[in-house]
Amino acid sequence: MAATEIARQAGEGVRAVPLSGHVGFDSMPDQLVNKSVNHGFCFNILCVGETGLGKSTLMDTLFNTKFEGEPTQHNQPGVQLKSNTYELQESNVRLKLTIVNTVGFGDQINKEDSYKPIVEFIDTHFEAYLQEELKIKRTLHSYHDSRIHACLYFIAPTGHSLKSLDLVTMKKLDSKVNIIPIIAKSDAISKSELAKFKIKITSELVSNGVQIYQFPTDDETVAEINSTMNGHLPFAVVGSTEEVKIGNKMVKARQYPWGTVQVENENHCDFVKLREMLIRVNMEDLREQTHTRHYELYRRCKLEEMGFKDTDPDSKPFSLQETYEAKRNEFMGELQKKEEEMRQMFVQRVKEKEAELKEAEKELHEKFDRLKKLHQDEKKKLEDKKKALDDEQNIFKQKKTAAELLQSQAQQAGGSTTLKRDKERKKNDGCDQS
C-alpha cells in the first residue's frame, strides 16, 4: 500500500513508522483465521416463497447434499417457519448451516398476515442475541449465532411483475434482513421474457423503496465482480438434484422432451452466479451486515423503546444503568401506590361491613327485648288469672266449709224442721251462689 494511504489512516496524530526488518505480525490474519476455523462458522438462511417454488430443491442443489424433508401440502392454515440445522464440513472448515423454510406461505385465502410470523421469527432471534449481550455473565464468543444472515426471496415465474404479497413482505423484511430476490423455476420463462421480467421487477422494487442486499463494492478484489452481479439481480435459478449424462459428464439438470436445462450452465440459468455470490464471495459480508446494520438497528429501536437514552451532555457514567434504576424505582413507587390504594379500599369495605353488622345486631337486640316484654306481659296476665282462680277456689272452699258447719250445727239442733230450714237455706245459698 502506498505510503500516502498509511499517512491518511494515521490521521489522529499517529505516526507511521517504517520497519527495518521482518517482524512477523503479517501472520496475524492467519492466526485469526485459524482461531475461527477451530471455532467453526455458522450461517443461517431463510427461504421465503410460496409452496411449490422449489425452495428445498434449490437448497439441496446449492449445498450439494440431500437435506431431509418432504414436500409440504398446500392446505396449511397459517404460515409457519420450520428450521433445520446441518453440520457441513469441507477441507477443514466446519459450517453449521441452518435453513429456515416458510411453510404455507401464500396458500391462504386471506394473506394479510402472512408476513407476520416471518418478522416475528427474525425478531425473536435478534432478541435472543440482545438478551445474551446484555447479560451480566455472558459467553458471547461461544454463543451460537441464530440470527438470519440472508433471506432468499423466491419470486414466482409469472413473467409479468411482482405480486402484491411479494411487495408487502419484502417491504416489511428489508430493514431486518439481507434480502436476495431470486426468480424460481426460471426454466418456465424464455430468455427475452426473462430480461423484461427482471427489469420490471427491479423497477418495481426501486419505486416501492424496497432495499435489497447490494453486493459490496468497496474492496477492490471483489468490487468488479460484485458490481456486475449487482446488475444481474434478481438471479433466475433452476434447481435440480437429478443428474443427467451430457457428453461424457454427469451434470445436474432437468430433462424435458424438448431439451435439457443444465443447472450449472451459465447460459441456461443464473445458478452459478447465485452460488458464487452467496457462498464463495460474500458469505462473510452477509454475516457482517447482519451484525452491524440490521442487528444494531433492532437493538437501537428496542433500547429506545425501553426508554433508555444515550449519555447526555453532562455524561453520567453508565447512564444505562442509572436510567434503569430510575425506571425501576418509578415502577416500585407505582406498585406501592397501588398497594396502598388496595389496602385502603379493603379497610373501607371492612368498616362498612362492620357497620352493617352492628345495625343488624342492634335490631336483633330490640326484637329480643320486645319479645321478652311480650312474654312477660303474657306471663303476668296468666298469673293474674291464676290468682283470680285461686281466690275463687278459696272462697268456694270457705263457703263449702261454712255450709258444712252450718249443716252439722243444724243437725245437732233440730230435726226435720231444720231440714226444711236447711233446704230453704240451701236454696237461698244456692240462689246466693248462683
Partner: protein, 359 residues
C-alpha cells in the same frame, strides 16, 4: 442439442500455509455428528457433501476483511528504569516505536508517582496494517517507598476497560469500537540471579487477574547459561507458590493441542532476553547485537538469548490469542463485576417479566 459444459475452472483456494514455528492445525478432521446434531431442530444431522460447494472460501473472505480493517495491539511494559524496556520493544518491532531515555540528564527527575505514557504508531508489513500502542510506565519501582506503585497501572487498565464498556453499552454504537485495552503486559524482572523481588510478586499478584502478564528476564547477558536455568526455575516455582498465573494461563487452554503447545512455552518462561538496535558484522552477516570486550551478544541467536523465542511466541503465534483472552476473559470479568456492583440488576429480562406479570 446439448452443449458441452465447460469444466469448472474455479480453483479451490489453498489453505494458507502457516509459518513454520506455529503449531499446525488439528490434523484430525472433526467428524460431523450423525443423528441429532447439537441444537438442531427438526431432522438435521451430519450431511456429507456430494461435491465441492465452496464453504471453505469463507477463510479467504475473512482474511480479506481483516486485512482491510487492520489490527490494534496495545502492549504495556513495566519494570524498573534501566532494565532495557524501550530497547526491547524497539527490537521486537524492529522500529523506533519507543523513545528510550538514554541516561538521565540533569533535568530528568524520577517521577514522584508512576506515570503512564502511551504512544501509538502504525506499522505495516505484508499488507497487514497494525496500530501498535506502547504504554510505558516510568517511575515504577524507582522510589524509595514503592508501596502501591501498581495502583496507577491498575487504574489505567481498568479505565481502558471502562471506556470500552461505555462504548459497548451505547444505544447508537460505532461500527468498530476503538480498542485501547491493554492486551499484553511485559514485566521485566531484574537479573539478580537469586529470586523474585517482593515488588515483582506483589505486582503480578495484583494485576495477574486483570491483564495478561508475560514476565521476562531483562539484560540476560549478565547470566551464564547455568545461572539462567536455575534462576528461571526458581522464578517459576516462586510464582507457582504464590498462585500467580502468567500468560498463557493454564485455565484457558481450550483443548489438548493448545495445552501441549502452551505447556512447552510455560516450561521455557520467563524468557531471558537481550535487546539491541545496533547492528554488527558477525561471520559476514549483519546481526543485531551488543558489543562487549569479550564478544558480541547476538540478539537473535537462540544460543545467546531467548529473544527470538519471545518474539515468535508473542507476535507470530499468540498475538491474536492475547487479544482474544483480553476480550473474552479479562474484559468480561471486569464487565460482570462492574454490572454487579451497580446494584446487581439483571438488565431487561427481569424488568419486562415483572412488568408483564402486573399488566
Amino acid at each position: 442439442m446439448s452443449e458441452i459444459v465447460p469444466p469448472e475452472v474455479r480453483p479451490k483456494p489453498a489453505v494458507p500455509a502457516k509459518p513454520s514455528h506455529v503449531a499446525p492445525p488439528a490434523s484430525v478432521p472433526h467428524m460431523p455428528p450423525h443423528g441429532p446434531g447439537a441444537g438442531s431442530q427438526g431432522s438435521g444431522g451430519g450431511s456429507t457433501l456430494l461435491g465441492y460447494v465452496g464453504i471453505d472460501t469463507i477463510i479467504e473472505q475473512m482474511r480479506k476483511k481483516t486485512m482491510k480493517t487492520g489490527f490494534d495491539f496495545n502492549i504495556m511494559v513495566v519494570g524498573q528504569s534501566g532494565l532495557g524496556k524501550s530497547t526491547l520493544v524497539n527490537t521486537l518491532f524492529k522500529s523506533q516505536v519507543s523513545r528510550r531515555s538514554s541516561g538521565w540528564s540533569r533535568d530528568d527527575k524520577i517521577p514522584k508517582t508512576v506515570e503512564i505514557k502511551s504512544v501509538s504508531h502504525v506499522i505495516e508489513e505484508g499488507g497487514v496494517k497494525m496500530k501498535l500502542t506502547v504504554i510505558d510506565t516510568p517511575g515504577f519501582g524507582d522510589q524509595i517507598n514503592n508501596e502501591n506503585c501498581w495502583e496507577p497501572i491498575s487504574k489505567y487498565i481498568n479505565e481502558q476497560y471502562e471506556k470500552f464498556l461505555k462504548e459497548e453499552v451505547n444505544i447508537a454504537r460505532k461500527k468498530r469500537i476503538p480498542d485501547t485495552r491493554v492486551h499484553c503486559c511485559l514485566y521485566f524482572i531484574s537479573p539478580t540471579g537469586h529470586s523474585l523481588r517482593q515488588l515483582d510478586v506483589e505486582f503480578m499478584k495484583h494485576l495477574g487477574r486483570a491483564v495478561n502478564i508475560i514476565p521476562v528476564i531483562a539484560k540476560a547477558d549478565t547470566l551464564t547459561p547455568e545461572e539462567k536455568t536455575e534462576f528461571k526455575q526458581r522464578v517459576r516455582k516462586e510464582l507457582e507458590v504464590c498462585g500467580i498465573e502468567f500468560y498463557p494461563q493454564k485455565e484457558f487452554d481450550e483443548d489438548m493441542e493448545d495445552k501441549s503447545d502452551n505447556d512447552k512455552i510455560r516450561e521455557a518462561m520467563p524468557f531471558a532476553v537481550v535487546g539491541s538496535d545496533k547492528e554488527y558484522q558477525v561471520n559476514g552477516k549483519r546481526v543485531l547485537g551488543r558489543k562487549t570486550a569479550w564478544g558480541i551478544v547476538e540478539v537473535e541467536n537462540p544460543n545467546h538469548c531467548e529473544f527470538s523465542l519471545l518474539r515468535d511466541f508473542l507476535i507470530r503465534s499468540h498475538l491474536q490469542d492475547l487479544k482474544e483472552v483480553t476480550h473474552n476473559i479479562h474484559y468480561e470479568t471486569y464487565r460482570a463485576k462492574r454490572l454487579n456492583d451497580n446494584g446487581g440488576l439483571h438488565p431487561i429480562s427481569s424488568s419486562s417479566d415483572t412488568q408483564e406479570s402486573n399488566l
